[in-house]
Symmetry: C2
Subunit: 304 residues, 2 copies
């Protein structure tokens, strides 16, 4: 069994590679829920959604988010009615949010809903939220405190970030199925996601970091920074604003004490000496499906 | 000013005729809200929606409900996710429900939302709910008590109906703007809607029936029954199950004491003698737009 912790886009690419590199039924993906929010009365879980669509082969590669074969009648009409359109929801994507919200209100756990929807859509891995409890990433910015999605999507990540907190994390409990998967895992992968807003919200749930450290499996992190730049998303900008060096090395140091192996791009070869963990170099930029599978194999080989 | 009380489909056709027969700004349509319900977490107002789309020229004539130029990606995907699909919601239609629900939760009144949405979509009349308070049509059937839409749409109106009640009507207050429009009206029209489930829920709101009776304008009802049959919908079936004769005459008698003029189809000419109100015969079947305008003119002529 392999366990992969992941945020959205970048991490999702590696999970797709892992799902193909492994026999069926061997991969459990643990998703960040810190970006989850309520919008238009719907419970939206952006990272779970991105991972579900990617693992089911339904992701919209052209957009980089949402579903393929999408239509936009809902959003067009909502705009005509004067509704809130800053967060774009395709007609098919909307069905997932409506159905998830209905089930949550009926008392089902987010984890059960996520597994069932993944199964119905044909996801090639078991996908679990890190916790069924509410954890919310909150950002202290130059414009005050705000939730993640209004900052990231609504304001295009423009306001400078001074602090990141995970509201509710201290009261949250890790999902028992995640703890069990971590305990039994042969390899634990931290995907190339933003450490501060994709991985940290999961590690902030009491017991999860300790479970990773205590697991018999090696923990392998893949750098989301290549040559001092983030492939996509606000990782590099946030690191700079938080006073951190924008480098693969800074990511590895952030995971200090947690990881056994750090997989970084060959572009960063010269700047990773003296880390406490083992460093493995591999091409980490995933443009094609072959890139995803190759990186997945490199990660698994490094750990075995 | 002309005031027209209406339920969904049949009534909506006459309101479309009235909107064309009158100068702009002269028509207020009062909508039944007894069929309103919560579905998938959304506040759905079937009669308001049908009237809004019809008055904006956006109704789906082929289906007989919903919007034209509709797409169905949401519903297709919801089915794939195992969601509730007995009540079909098109992608564009859905935007109205989501936006209405958002505004209701933000504290806006149904009437304000209805007027604003009608304006944005280009409705050719002012559309108001009879009340902003919650009134719900409940049916006692051979399968027990049920709400209207699960009976009408979910079970295709199959279970026999023994009793109809309007939960909440006694505590509801008529919309002040409706009372004012009724008081100032030159003509009040009761559209060819189902008396029991489209008009009665409005008349059950304390004060509304008295306002109609006390108004200076003549009250003209148009028969929804033509030659002993309902044009569409469950009116005739319900009348029979409730022990009433299925006839235009029985409709007129139901409105006894309330209406001054009853407009019935020429097919029912022989069976309307001795009614307390004046009877006017006109072709009441509305197949074409010209039919709608002609019936509207006949109704207005009868009242003047």
């Amino acid at each position: 069994m392999i366990v992969a912790l992941s945020g959205g886009i970048g991490g999702a690419k590696l999970t797709v590679g892992l799902a193909q590199a492994l026999p069926a039924g061997r991969l459990t993906v643990v998703a960040n829920t810190g970006d989850d929010f309520e919008h238009l009365g719907l419970a939206i879980s952006p990272d779970i959604d991105t991972l579900t669509y990617a693992l089911a082969g339904l992701d919209n590669a052209a957009l980089g988010w949402g579903r393929r074969d999408e239509t936009w009648s809902f959003m067009e009409t909502l705009a005509a009615l004067g509704g809130e359109t800053w967060f774009r929801l395709g007609d098919r994507d909307l069905a997932l949010h409506v159905e998830r919200t209905r089930r949550l209100r009926a008392g089902q756990a987010l984890s059960d809903i996520t597994v069932d929807i993944g199964r119905r859509l044909g996801a090639r891995a078991r996908l679990l939220p890190a916790t069924d409890d509410r954890v919310r990433t909150r950002l202290r910015t130059e414009r005050g405190w705000m939730d993640f999605q209004p900052w990231f999507v609504g304001l295009r990540a423009a306001p400078r970030v001074a602090e990141v907190v995970f509201a509710g994390a201290e009261q949250a409990r890790p999902l028992p199925a995640v703890l069990k998967a971590v305990e039994r895992a042969e390899v634990i992968v931290i995907c190339p996601s933003n450490p501060f807003i994709s991985i940290d919200p999961m590690l902030a749930v009491p017991g999860l970091r300790a479970a990773l450290i205590g697991a018999r499996a090696p923990v392998v992190a893949v750098s989301p920074i290549i040559g001092g730049r983030a492939v996509k998303g606000p990782t590099a900008k946030m690191m700079a604003e938080l006073g951190l060096e924008v480098s693969a090395r800074a990511v590895a140091e952030r995971y200090g004490g947690l990881i056994d192996i750090f997989v970084a791009d060959e572009a960063d070869a010269g700047a990773l000496d003296g880390l406490a963990c083992r460093v493995v170099l591999a091409p980490t930029l995933m443009r094609t499906n072959a890139d995803k599978v190759a990186l997945a194999r490199a990660v698994l080989d490094a750990a075995r």
